[in-house]
C-alpha cells in the first residue's frame, strides 16, 4: 500500500466534519470495493475515514411494519438474522448470495448502497422493496437515491446511517450470478405491498438499477408469472460485455422476472 491518513472517528458528526474538511478523503465502511481498488492503485485517496468504531451504526430491528438496518451491518448479519428471515425472507436470501463468505462478513449494506455498483444486489433490494435511505442529514426514498452508474443523491459530506425496508406482502429476488465474482449478470427483485408492485433490475442497465414499469402494470392486473407472457424489455440502453450481450440481458430480465413472480406468489 502507499501512505495515507487513517481517521477513526467515534461519531457520525465527527466523521461528517472530517469528510467536509479533508481534501480527497473517502469513507471506509466494509472496504470490499475500496480496498481492492486501492491495492491496484486505481484509487489513491489522501485519507480514509473508518466508520467501524462509531457506535449505533450497525444492527437490525423490527420497528412497526418496517425492518431497520444500520448502515454498517454486514451482509452475513442480514442473511443470518432471524428477524429478517421471518419477516422479509427475500432480503435475507439476497444478502446470503452476495459475493463470497469474505465479502459477506466484511461488506456492509450502507457501503454497497453508497457505492451503487451497477451489478450489486443491494440496490435492487432498496429500489425493489421501496426502502428509505436515512443519512446524517435527511431521508431519501430509493426512487430518488440511485442517480446513475456509481452515482447517488448523496451530498459530499453526507453519510448513510440506516436503511428502512417497509415489509411487503410478497417478495422474491432471483439473480443470474457471474460464477466467478457472484456479481449479478442480471438480478430481479419483485415485490407487492398493498397495491404497490415493484420490479427492480440490477446488473443490466447501463445507468445502474432501474424499475420496469411495463412489468409492474401487467402484474397490477394479476400477480402471477403468466401476466408477464409476451412482455420484454428493449435491449437498447442495457450493458453489453464479455459476459453477455445487451440482447441476452434483456432476455434474462424476462426469464428472471417470471421466476421471481412465481417464487413470490407461491
Amino acid at each position: 500500500m502507499y501512505a495515507f491518513t487513517l481517521h477513526r472517528p467515534s461519531s457520525v458528526r465527527q466523521a461528517a466534519n472530517l469528510l467536509a474538511k479533508s481534501e480527497d478523503a473517502k469513507l471506509l465502511a466494509g472496504g470490499q470495493t475500496l480496498i481492492p481498488t486501492m491495492k491496484q492503485r486505481l484509487a489513491s485517496p489522501a485519507s480514509l475515514i473508518d466508520l467501524s468504531l462509531i457506535e449505533g451504526l450497525s444492527g437490525i430491528e423490527l420497528r412497526g411494519r418496517s425492518i431497520v438496518i444500520g448502515a454498517m451491518t454486514r451482509h452475513a448479519e442480514v442473511a443470518d438474522s432471524p428477524v429478517v428471515q421471518e419477516n422479509l425472507p427475500a432480503l435475507a436470501e439476497l444478502a446470503g448470495e452476495i459475493g463470497d463468505p469474505h465479502v459477506r462478513n466484511m461488506g456492509t449494506i450502507g457501503g454497497s448502497l453508497a457505492n451503487n455498483d451497477p451489478n450489486a444486489d443491494y440496490p435492487a433490494a432498496a429500489l425493489g422493496l421501496g426502502a428509505t435511505i436515512v443519512t446524517n442529514k435527511r431521508r431519501i426514498a430509493a426512487d430518488e437515491f440511485f442517480t446513475g452508474m456509481f452515482e447517488t443523491a448523496l451530498g459530499a459530506d453526507e453519510i448513510v446511517t440506516k436503511v428502512m425496508f417497509p415489509l411487503p406482502k410478497k417478495a422474491a429476488y432471483v439473480k443470474f450470478a457471474n460464477p466467478a465474482s457472484r456479481y449479478a449478470l442480471v438480478g430481479v427483485l419483485v415485490s407487492k405491498r398493498g397495491r404497490e408492485i415493484r420490479v427492480a433490475v440490477t446488473g443490466a442497465g447501463a445507468n445502474g438499477v432501474f424499475r420496469v414499469t411495463a412489468f409492474e402494470e401487467a402484474l397490477q392486473r394479476r400477480f402471477g408469472p403468466k401476466s408477464l407472457d409476451g412482455l420484454s424489455v428493449p435491449a437498447a440502453g442495457l450493458n453489453s460485455d464479455i459476459h453477455g450481450s445487451a440482447e441476452y440481458r434483456a432476455h434474462l430480465i424476462g426469464v428472471l422476472a417470471r421466476r421471481a413472480v412465481a417464487a413470490a406468489a407461491g
Partner: protein, 146 residues
Amino acid sequence: MAMVMDGEVQLPAPREVVWAKLNDAEVLKACIPGCESLEKLSETEFQAVAVVKIGPVKAKFKGKVRLSDLDPPNGYRISGEGDGGVAGFAKGGATVALTPKDGTQLSYHVDAQIGGKLAQLGQRLVNGAAKNMADQFFKNFVAAVS
C-alpha cells in the same frame, strides 16, 4: 480492449458557431468531463490533463490531443493518447461531422482502445462509463453553444 461508439446530437446554433466552438481550447476544456487543463501547443495540438472518475476508481490521464482532417465547417477528427500511470493507457479518437439541419446536427464516431489495469479490471464498466462521459461532454457542449 477496443471500443466503438456512434451518436448524434442536435445543436441549437449555426454550423459556423459550432465549428468555432469545436476549435476553442477553453470551450473544449469546459466540456471534457474531469479536464483539469488543456494547453494549446499549436493550432492543432493540445496538451491535456484529465481526471477520470468511475465509482471507486480515480485516475489522472496526461496526454496530447490532436486535430486532423480539418474540413471547416464540415468536420474534423480529434484524437489523442493519454497515459494514466499504473492505471493504464487510453488512446483513440472521434470523427465529427456537422450538417446544417434545424441549427446543426453533429454526428460522431468514436473508436478507442484502453489497456493496462483499467481495461483488465474495469471490463464490465468501461462501455457504460465511456457512454456516460460522451453524454456528459455533449450536454456541456450543447450548453456552450446555446
